[in-house]
Symmetry: C2
Subunit: 313 residues, 2 copies
């Protein structure tokens, strides 16, 4: 299969390497200069569960995609949420009438963006539980195991989604065909919407927030806003299960001492956050549906204010 | 007049010194050990508009007030909002049936606390535009000029309030009898409710917050919650005027580079904040009146979470 990884950061690199090793013709696209140049020069160096290997794969900048490029069989988009639209614009030549697009981005609303570039029958949504880390330009660390849950968004696309599942299984990426990926996407967004924004605004790790008397009331309010908006899209979130799941992450012997990724983006690395696709998406959808979402709205406003105060890029 | 200053920090010291110099018999009460001991030993040292003087006045700890003390003519309470109840409890012996109590604390709801200790006819509410700074234990810096606006909360108390106005004028403290002090108290609380909580949570000065695209929407939402709750108490806030006033403080050539007092309390000095008497009071009153106040509620929760994360005292 001719597979394009659009956004070849840590996670995109994992998928690229594993799909390449399974015999696919994999092309990477990314715009981080040092990373692209390192891979062009030396190949992608991966530490996979302690074993280092180097994989040579073609890598391009988005603006290097020629207008007469051959369309891909499958494009997996792995950009930051706010870079999806730009990426789709750049890779238009790779989008043929039969090109399947698998979107594994965090957050909500990506299918609307995708639908502006890709026929609905070719769009497959998913979430992944794999992890991946960057050690530096051209170097990734791929530990542990995971899974990819996915589903077509249009009934016509079922055969496409199942073909992708098979391809991912073949590469050891544990693809699973989901009967309700919309639920999984909403659930994951809701989980992300609780700790990411709050720990970032409070400059706290998960345990520190969890130890306060305010954590539960705040998280409950956020989850109930996600649930109210999700219900308008015919997704009935299990609020109790989600709260329970989030509360379990408070444990300092588990992941409690970690800072959520939004904190790492904004406070540690001074980067813009994905807030508009998490709490911000709920506030925007809530406004459109006439569902009050003040906690999501204020958290989104505070995160954007903090981005501007810190001059994040 | 026998006047007791209950809470003799910077502002209480200003009132104490000026009322003493006007010939009143002034007694200070405070619980900050170093400050009390310094004043007991050396008197209160004040730098008044550049001129230093020392004033000897009796000063006591709250628990030194003997049960057979002579009631005061006037008690001016100047504690932190959360210390008011404890202070009233301690100074009960000083509260006679004719003792007037003037409350100049920031925030909302103090009249309810006062009414548990003082007959309504003796309660006078006010706000002050004087400023005062602490240079260290027993040393205050009193620059600029100001005013005290006050009013009885009970029709019967008008003569008391006017007597206090006269006493304050006599001491150069520019007392003004207000025809609507409730409006002034709500307006001041609303102004405090905009920048204090937001700048504290964002760790930003006024100009930094003001320069963000999010400042106006957040401030508007907060002001509208204050206004909706105030209306339930028959106070009709001028939201446009308040927003305009707050926006004027963004100017870095004015007070824009300052951090609001709540930021100084929590972030600089690691002290508990008065949030429960500002945004927290609106959230509490809103819940009681059935008026939604989610922005005030979430800001209160975030500030309390931050207090706990920082182990503020």
């Amino acid at each position: 299969m001719r597979i394009v990884i659009a956004g070849a950061g840590a996670m995109g690199s994992r998928f690229g390497v594993m799909l390449h090793h399974a015999g696919n013709d994999v092309v990477l696209i990314d715009k981080w200069r040092e990373h692209v140049e390192a891979i062009k020069k030396n190949g992608l160096s991966a530490n996979i569960n302690g074993q280092r290997s180097t994989t040579r794969m073609p890598i391009f900048y988005p603006d290097e995609i020629a207008s007469n490029s051959t369309p891909a069989d499958l494009i997996i988009v792995f950009t930051k949420a706010m870079q999806l639209e730009d990426m789709l614009q750049s890779i238009k030549p790779l989008l043929g009438s039969e090109t399947m697009v698998l979107c594994l981005l965090n957050g909500l609303g990506h299918e609307d963006t995708l639908a502006r570039y890709v026929p609905k029958k070719n769009i497959v949504l998913g979430i992944t539980m794999w992890t991946a880390g960057l050690e530096g330009p051209g170097k990734v660390k791929l530990f542990g195991t995971g899974e990819v849950e996915l589903q077509n968004i249009d009934a016509e696309g079922e055969k496409h989604a199942k073909k992708i599942v098979a391809e991912l299984r073949n590469a050891g990426l544990n693809g699973v065909y989901s009967s309700n990926v919309k639920y999984s996407v909403w659930r994951k967004a809701c989980v992300n919407g609780t700790l990411n924004s709050t720990c970032t605004i409070l400059n706290a790790n998960i345990s520190e927030l969890g130890a306060t008397t305010e954590a539960i009331p705040i998280l409950k309010a956020i989850i109930s806003e996600f649930a109210a908006v999700a219900a308008k899209e015919h997704v009935i979130l299990d609020q109790k299960e989600i709260l329970q799941h989030v509360v379990e992450t408070f444990d300092p012997n588990g992941i409690g001492l970690h800072y959520p990724s939004m904190h790492q983006d904004l406070i540690k690395n001074n980067r813009l956050t994905e807030i508009d696709y998490i709490n911000g998406a709920v506030a925007r959808k809530g406004a459109a549906y006439g569902v009050p979402t003040p906690y999501c709205a204020l958290l989104t406003e505070l995160i954007h204010a903090k981005e501007q105060i810190l001059k994040a890029k």
